[in-house]
């Protein structure tokens, strides 16, 4: 339970036992750390090295705070004060790592700076790293492309950033992830280079990015959220992102890979108009405000498939978000219909678009059953979905075709009905009203 002090201005014994005798480098300060210790770093601590710096926590298990504080506030300190600075110059890397034991490291108030090298955040065995009120700086345009990189391919590590700031030195740099990361309430620094390429680049299958609140208003209007490094199976979820006014970028700058998915809500450049964007291998789902059903939701879902990977019935499809409604009817049949609109005189069939609905079909347990209006199997004969009597705004359409999906089933317990629409037509667009009609 030791208090360990770090201050580059200290001139005493440099054994870390007090502010006077503080270690003068953070690497020296964390070397003796064990769980239960606290590492206090003076807010005017500033270390600068042309050689690589590696801050490695080894052999310790449990919570380890590494905190920038006002050194004038006592021993141990009583006042948080951001500002402690760790910097490497030239092409050297700054590496923040936990290698061994099971430390849970919490950094507060640091500025980590690299010039043309990378800031590597890596660990070996699932030692989570937490960064609170920290700033990450790439001070040079350099030749590198990243501000954060995890060169050790380790899917387990998890990095959580809260209220952190990212200051890029070049417009093509990004946050490059090999591992699950969570960012909450973060932002581009005021003086950051204007990102023009992408903000995040995802590497290695299974990389997960969850971003909850990120101010990107200082980026270029064409910046993409996700980069081209996406590989199969990656997953991204974004909410409350402040994109530049007039933003024209994409959610996923590269081609989405198999089973990859990027989802964004509450993102807009002109104010917080609710906006949905779901990017999948076969297409994307966006919110539509013009082509909407009269008397339906005030918006519809624009489901558009790409021209890349060809959709396949029944296993390659673009999937809508879930529609969830509470059902109180039990023991008797109900019908759920979902209206949709598309621009063709040719009706869509049940191997091209269908609904998959989960309901509680047993009185014995809440085990759900599946109701679907899809073609039974790959050898079946497709049939048209029924026409709908619904009225839609059809601005710009040549051959508006209103149809509906429909399933009939008997719920046996009160509870949720959960449904999804699957679209398996290549290079096609349908508009789905997300409020189902129940009879």
């Amino acid at each position: 339970m030791a208090n360990i002090y770090v201050d580059s201005n200290a001139t005493g014994a440099n054994d870390g036992t007090s502010w006077t005798d503080a270690f003068t480098t953070l690497a020296a300060g964390i070397d003796p750390v064990v769980a239960g210790d606290s590492v206090w770093v003076a807010s005017d601590h500033s270390e600068n090295s042309a050689s690589p710096i590696t801050l490695n926590f080894t052999g310790s298990s449990g919570f380890i705070p590494v905190v920038s504080v006002d050194s004038a506030s006592g021993e141990p300190p009583t006042t948080l004060q951001a500002g402690a600075s760790i910097e490497v110059t030239g092409s050297s890397d700054l590496t923040l790592i936990a290698n061994g034991g099971l430390p849970r490291v919490y950094y507060y108030g640091f500025t980590f700076t690299a010039a043309s090298g990378d800031i590597n955040i890596a660990s070996w065995l699932m030692q989570d790293m937490y960064y609170d009120n920290c700033t990450f700086v790439r001070s040079s345009i350099g030749t590198g492309t990243t501000i954060i990189d995890s060169p050790v391919v380790d899917y387990d590590q998890s990095c959580v950033f809260t209220n952190c700031e990212f200051d890029f030195g070049a417009s093509t740099q990004d946050i490059n992830t090999h591992c699950p990361i969570v960012l909450r309430g973060c932002r581009l620094a005021a003086g950051s280079a204007v990102l023009t390429s992408n903000v995040f680049q995802r590497n290695d299958a299974g990389g997960v990015i969850e971003v909850d609140g990120f101010d990107l208003t200082g980026a270029n209007t064409a910046v993409d959220i996700g980069g081209t490094g996406a590989v199969q199976g990656t997953y991204g979820k974004f909410r409350g992102i402040g994109v530049p006014s007039g933003w024209t970028g994409t959610l996923n700058g590269g081609t989405q890979q198999r089973n990859g998915r990027m989802n964004m809500e509450w993102v807009d450049g002109s104010g917080p108009t609710y906006r949905l964007w779901d990017d999948q291998l076969l297409g994307e789902v966006n919110e539509e405000t013009t082509l909407v059903k009269t008397g339906g939701a005030s918006v519809s879902w624009n489901m558009s498939t790409f021209g890349g990977t060809t959709p396949q019935f029944p296993f390659g499809f673009l999937e809508s978000p879930e529609i969830v409604i509470w059902n109180t009817t039990t023991g008797s049949s109900i019908t759920v219909e979902i209206d949709f609109l598309h621009d063709s005189v040719t009706a869509l069939q049940n191997d091209e678009i269908w609904m998959e609905l989960y309901y509680m079909g047993s009185t014995a347990s809440p085990l759900s059953s599946i109701a679907t209006d899809r073609l039974a199997n790959v050898l079946g004969t497709p049939s048209n979905h029924a026409s709908s009597g619904a009225t839609w705004t059809t601005t710009g359409m040549s051959n508006p075709n209103e149809q509906k999906l429909s399933v009939t089933f008997t719920p046996e317990m009160v509870g949720k009905l959960i449904m999804r629409v699957h679209l398996a037509v290549g290079s096609y667009t349908v508009y789905v009203d997300p409020i189902p009609v129940i009879t």
Binding site: P65, S158, T162, G185, T217, R258, G308, S368
Partner: protein
């Protein structure tokens, strides 16, 4: 775009060109299948390989998939009737490795994969109406999804060994299991296993019947390096289930398991969520008067934290997020939740607090984080306010009604999201999840 045939009963040329000349093993597709080809497997096909592992590799492209379909061979060439039943098996502790070669999409229907040891599906498989069985007795005798996830629709999964499980390899990504259930006599001690240096995958299980499992089955086991995020909805549990959401709690990782309306009997709607540091339950006894209801029964959320060292900065239970559509801008909003616990000692802001994600910038959709968490130094912990709310307090000795609040200033109309966070070890608190806005 060829039709290829597999039938263990075929006695012709065995070149895969017809039912008569069908290959007698699925392994023959390796190197012979092209993108766009369909593999028709006779529903009475039955092969068991014992000398070595059985391996089959497909060859898809972005525009041309492969389909492996169990069919009634009497229905023609190519067949016109699907018929489940084709059996691909190994003996003598051999694995089955089904490898998705190529960059496109792959689909298998109606096939029984019966492995004497492990059964792996690599690089994104779509499986429908199949049986996936592993019979090995060791920890590696798993149904393995590796590479890019899988979609498993209406399949029966047989985990016959006590150490068998559905194994999620590192980087599996996203797995969906929709419908289906465990095979009779399945005997696993855990459903999912996130492997060494693995995990952090996303899994959705909807309507999976686990009533055949042992009553003490756990939902997830993971190596010391962390687990996956698993959501299980409307699944049937074994009778008198006593298992755990996660049977490893080494305080690392961000893994969670959420059971949503899962039970064995016809109980009312309920949830059970857990992460490394605690559990959150749907509570129907200790509830706030005029508080939340699931439209059937009054409810609260009961949070039970685990024992041992937990820390408010890195280890906590934060399983509740409550959305609220806010119309007030430019002035402070206070969001509060009532809670109750069984102690004369009030809970403080280093033990339980609220966090908010809210629209913080005028003219933009940027959300910011506001937290009621006590800073690491500089401020003494303080009690949350008492609450005048009345609760049903059955079984409590010293019911203590309190209210936690957080204030922030939204700059735009829209949703904000409130999270309740608990980090007092070995403690139980009941939270009414209906926000109080002032």
């Amino acid at each position: 775009m060829a039709n290829l045939y597999v039938d263990s009963n075929a006695t012709g040329l065995n070149d895969g060109t017809s039912w008569t000349d069908a290959w007698t093993s699925i392994e023959s597709i390796t190197g012979n299948i092209a993108a766009g080809d369909d593999v028709w497997i006779a529903s009475d096909h039955s092969e068991t390989k014992t000398a070595a592992a059985l391996t089959a590799t497909t060859a898809t492209s972005a525009s041309l998939p492969n389909r492996l379909l169990s069919a009634d061979k009497t229905s023609g060439t190519p067949p016109t009737t699907l018929q489940a039943g084709a059996s691909i098996a190994t003996g003598s502790a051999q694995n089955i490795d089904m490898i998705h070669g190529g960059t496109g999409l792959l689909y298998a229907w109606g096939i029984t994969f019966d492995a004497a040891d492990a059964l792996s599906f690599q690089n994104f498989w779509n499986l429908e109406n199949c049986e996936l069985i592993v019979r090995g007795g060791d920890q590696l005798a798993n149904v393995v999804f590796d590479g890019a996830g899988a979609r498993v629709l209406n399949c029966t999964i047989g985990l016959m060994g006590s150490q068998s499980s559905i194994r999620l390899e590192p980087g599996t990504g996203y797995v969906e299991i929709i419908g289906g259930g465990l095979l009779t006599s399945s005997n696993p001690d855990t459903i999912f296993y996130s492997s060494q240096v693995g995990g952090n995958n996303r899994v959705l299980v909807q309507g999976f019947d686990m009533s055949n499992a042992p009553s003490d089955i756990d939902m997830q086991t993971y190596a010391t390096t962390g687990g996956s995020h698993i959501i299980m909805r409307n699944c049937r549990l074994p009778a008198s289930w006593t298992g755990e959401l996660q049977n490893t709690h080494d305080n690392v990782g961000q893994c969670t398991v959420k059971l949503n309306n899962c039970d064995n009997g016809a109980t009312e709607y309920n949830s059970l969520w857990g992460n490394n540091w605690g559990l959150a339950f749907t509570e129907t006894t200790i509830v706030k008067d005029d508080g939340t209801s699931n439209q059937v029964t009054p409810t609260s959320v009961r949070i039970e934290t685990r024992s041992g060292s937990i820390n408010r900065f890195v280890e906590y239970v934060d399983l509740i997020e409550i959305p609220y559509y806010n119309l007030s801008t430019g002035s402070s909003v206070t969001a509060s939740l009532d809670f109750i616990h069984d102690s004369l000692t009030a809970l403080q802001d280093d033990e339980i607090w609220l966090e908010a994600m809210y629209l913080s910038a005028s003219g933009a959709s940027t959300m910011s984080l506001a937290t009621g968490r006590l800073p690491i130094i500089g401020t003494s912990a303080s009690n949350h306010a008492s609450s005048a709310a009345t609760w049903t307090t059955t079984g409590m000795t010293n019911p203590n009604e309190q209210r936690m609040s957080i204030s922030f200033t939204p700059q735009e109309v829209g949703f904000f999201f409130i999270r309740a966070v608990v980090c007092k070890p070995s403690y139980t608190v009941y939270i009414d999840p209906e926000l109080i806005i002032s």
